[in-house]
């Protein structure tokens, strides 16, 4: 219902929206990729950063010492910040878990992008076109999760070892997690999910009721970040 209304508004607004909307429409039978983060498994090793390391090394994400200029795709954040509450169970009080782009079903970032440099693929992945990005950072203002990073200067000096198989970014563009589209397109799961020794990051097709992620979500309650905003994230947290 939500999708058809959005598509209707897009088509009704202006005829040439059709072109832009073509890429954004969801195929009813195709996959909708999502992730469920099982915190009980993640918490087995509090200091573990294997998911971040695997992602950042492969994708040439720079390590910038100045926190204000950081570039991050997947990182650990304290739960008290991600899901603010009171009187938390002791095991969650100081716990943290991975956060990343939520690949929203209704992403505000793609709505505001003035060039279509960030857009939603039919399989639900919110993608970045680094060739087209003009660096206006409107998407960063629009993202309610702080999932996006900007290259305030050339990132290369801050990349310890460049993985030649994946491009770096240039100064002046926005970047973020892409759910490893380059792997998905050849039938592989995202790196963070594969890198986790505890299998805490369950990746799969939310449209397939028999997928592992759906089985997990039907067995245990999955929380999503800031659902009141209507963005419909595809990343679930099982606390």
């Amino acid at each position: 219902m939500n999708i058809s209304r959005k598509t209707f508004v897009k088509f009704a607004a202006l005829p040439f929206v059709a072109l832009a909307a073509k890429g954004a429409r969801s195929k009813p039978n195709g996959p909708r990729w999502g992730m469920a983060i099982d915190h009980r498994n993640c918490a087995k090793d509090e200091g573990c950063t294997l998911c971040t390391d695997a992602c950042h090394l492969t994708h040439n994400v720079p390590t910038i010492p100045d926190a204000r200029r950081e570039v991050k795709w997947v990182w650990k954040e304290r739960f008290s910040k991600v899901f603010p509450s009171e009187y938390l169970p002791a095991r969650l009080e100081n716990a943290s878990g991975p956060v990343m782009c939520n690949h929203c079903e209704n992403p505000p970032c793609t709505r505001v992008c003035p060039t279509g440099a960030t857009f939603k693929r039919p399989d639900g992945i919110v993608m970045m076109d680094w060739h087209r990005c003009i660096g206006c950072r409107y998407c960063m203002a629009a993202c309610p999760y702080g999932s996006r990073s900007f290259n305030w200067s050339d990132p290369r000096p801050h990349i310890r070892s460049v993985n030649a198989a994946y491009p770096c970014r240039t100064k002046g563009v926005v970047e973020k997690c892409t759910f490893c589209v380059e792997r998905l397109d050849v039938g592989k799961a995202p790196l963070c999910s594969e890198a986790c020794p505890e299998k805490a990051l369950i990746f799969g097709d939310l449209n397939d009721p028999r997928s592992e992620i759906r089985t997990l979500l039907s067995a245990r309650y999955g929380l999503r970040r800031r659902t009141e905003l209507g963005t419909r994230p595809s990343v679930f947290y099982i606390l």
């Binding site: 890429g23 857009f119 693929r121 993608m127 076109d129 680094w130 060739h131 050339d154 290369r156 000096p157 801050h158 990349i159 310890r160 070892s161 460049v162 993985n163 030649a164 198989a165 491009p167 770096c168 970014r169 240039t170 589209v181 397109d185 050849v186």
Partner: protein, 132 residues
């Protein structure tokens, strides 16, 4: 109207300076040396050489749009062979290992900066490189 001689003289000086490279080369009878490209031996390009010479930038453009925007990652050449669409993984890794001897030669000859491909994309030669 009294400015006319000054204006005309200025224009003449401008024309002489602007055309300097042409008449200098003509006067010294020096033909510019064309760049010699190092072609990979016994390989077939993803498209006819003539097309690649004229339109490689369009192909790269459409390749990147296909990969990034539509997720199409395979390319079928006119000869029927299929390739992975990848600047580093296919063009550079399989044929033109040294971009300095291939891309850069023509680009510096005609004075066209090779866009900003190498701001982001990497050469396979230095697969794992420490930061500059």
């Amino acid at each position: 109207m009294r400015d006319q001689p000054i204006i005309l003289a200025g224009l003449a000086v401008f024309l002489v300076i602007a055309s300097f490279p042409f008449w200098y080369n003509a006067a010294t009878l020096r033909a510019a040396a064309r760049p010699a490209l190092q072609l990979p031996p016994g390989k077939q390009c993803v498209a006819p050489v003539k097309y690649m010479k004229a339109y490689h930038m369009r192909m790269l453009d459409s390749w990147r749009d296909q990969v990034v925007r539509t997720g199409v990652r395979r390319y079928t050449s006119p000869g029927g062979k299929t390739y992975d669409i990848s600047l580093t993984g296919t063009c550079l890794s399989q044929c033109h290992q040294d971009r300095a001897k291939f891309c850069d030669r023509c680009h510096s000859y005609v004075g066209v900066r090779a866009a900003y491909c190498w701001d982001c994309h990497n050469s396979p030669g230095n697969a794992v490189r420490t930061a500059r």
